[in-house]
Symmetry: C2
Subunit: 307 residues, 2 copies
């Protein structure tokens, strides 16, 4: 019959306790396994294979994995919880490309462009469902699963609202930098937040969630600013007045030196992010702190700073 099968297990297949030698490969395997099917639509299977051929840098999954490991979560469970936010991030990219009519994604055709809108909408839906499906693999944390499920749904909801708010014509006709920064955080912040908060909730550190959320929110804002500096020309070609919500364009309107302004704003927020990350239990904010250092270097490079 065409109904669902029980052959695929959402839990990761790497043996418990074994060290992870190739983290990106194990993450890819975990995500691909979570969306896998034995039989079904050929187009969807082809789109899954296509998507995983160029799956990105796994920043959210890497942050989640190192945070979980610092909190004492065993390797294969750390991989599972870390893949949740990564799958949701990929779902949002696949659906965003439909919304924005982007024909390219990570050096190849976007899913809707290669197939059609229907395949892309269905693939994104499958990724969202698979993200929740992974939670079943965390069955040794039984009593913590309800708060984890609530957390994941909250962050999906926030990402969706952030995504739609960032498309709002009101935003794109505004010259207020603060609005642009809030939109950037509203769209990217929740899934970075989930990467850290999910392992915290799984280990009972509910009180640390707010620090993690503010730390990742500040990081996400600057992460988006770096992208906006790189995409400045493309965004201005799309919308010569407001740069389609580009944060550098908003800085230009309030400052004669937008790049130094972007740099000092980044330094401020990244320092805040690192200060908050430093307060997380069991040094679990170290991975985020390291990513802040990398992002600071990237921003300094983009804004022409020497050091």
């Amino acid at each position: 019959m065409t109904g669902p099968s029980t052959l695929t297990d959402p839990a990761v297949e790497c043996p418990a306790g074994s060290p992870v030698t190739d983290l990106p490969e194990v993450i890819r395997h975990t995500m691909q396994n979570a969306v896998m099917v034995e039989a079904g639509s050929d187009a969807l299977q082809a789109a899954i294979d296509h998507h995983f051929r160029s799956p990105g840098g796994y920043l959210r999954a890497r942050l989640g994995y190192h945070t979980a490991s610092a909190l004492g979560i065993e390797s294969h469970h750390a991989i599972t919880v870390a893949s949740i936010s990564e799958l949701l991030h990929n779902a949002s990219l696949i659906h965003d490309d439909v919304l924005d009519r982007d024909t390219r994604r990570r050096g190849q055709a976007s899913v809707w462009h290669q197939w059609n809108e229907g395949v892309a909408i269905c693939l994104g839906d499958l990724f969202i469902s698979a993200a929740f499906g992974l939670i079943a693999g965390l069955d040794t944390f039984a009593s913590r699963l309800p708060p984890l499920i609530t957390l994941v749904h909250e962050h999906v909801r926030a990402t969706i609202h952030g995504q739609l708010s960032s498309l709002s014509p009101r935003l794109h006709a505004s010259d207020r930098f603060r609005r642009y920064a809030e939109a950037a955080r509203g769209k990217s912040g929740p899934l970075f937040g989930l990467a850290l908060e999910a392992p915290l909730v799984l280990t009972g550190h509910h009180e640390a969630r707010m620090n993690a959320r503010h730390a990742t929110g500040a990081f996400a804002t600057i992460f988006q600013l770096a992208d906006d500096i790189e995409d400045y020309d493309a965004d201005m070609a799309l919308d010569p007045e407001y740069g389609a919500g580009n944060m550098l364009r908003a800085l230009e309107r309030i400052s004669s030196e937008p790049l130094p302004r972007a740099r000092s704003y980044s330094d401020l927020l990244l320092a805040r992010s690192q200060r908050l990350a430093g307060r997380l239990p069991a040094a679990s904010g170290t991975a985020l702190t390291d990513e802040c250092d990398l992002l600071r270097t990237r921003i300094h490079g983009l804004t022409g700073a020497s050091g």
Copy 2:
């Protein structure tokens, strides 16, 4: 900050143990609560309100509620588990309307037509996430949540594959009735299956799942056939050769008396569904059996049978 809030609880608000006097109203309230937000995109909030203004007959939720109640699940938990498949069904309708460019849904404008594709894609995503979010409200069943999560993801996956397979050009250029029937079951069967299987899994009746799945699969096939008979003219206008996958059109190609043929096929499958439903524990198949009776009457009316 724009991040997620913890104010909304995915659990249903009706007091534990209270009798449900207005089932559709309680289901609507539960679903609306699960997707609720305090702040976020105005367009998304407006689309939520619009959607719930005309939310359908709640067939899946009603089947789920009565199945759960028969299995001894307390009223407010029965409502919660029953709303899972209903939210997923609504998500699929919202996304299907984008795919099919349907401008009307239940007597009002479809979401993508009233707003745009972005709002409709985001709203469907939110409904999928909210369906899983409801599982957090079932925290008294802690050890059963992992298999329930796996079950929900399996059925979402099957629905997505069924949806895409039913859009396949190969299907629409086929004259084989069996293929049409399989496509109908593949698309509608999983969420009817989930309505019964979720309460069974929650009460530990794993062994009864397959009977429930086959019983709902047969029911779903005839449920789709009834729709196809009603939509015959519209489907033929769309695709004069194959009726865009219309099952009655496929019967026409193998029989000079397609309506009596549809009737006898329905009688066969509905009897099978009722036979399998009768084997479910604690008479939990009674709700499905009753719906089979109603569907048989509807089919007999549509095919011109007298009794």
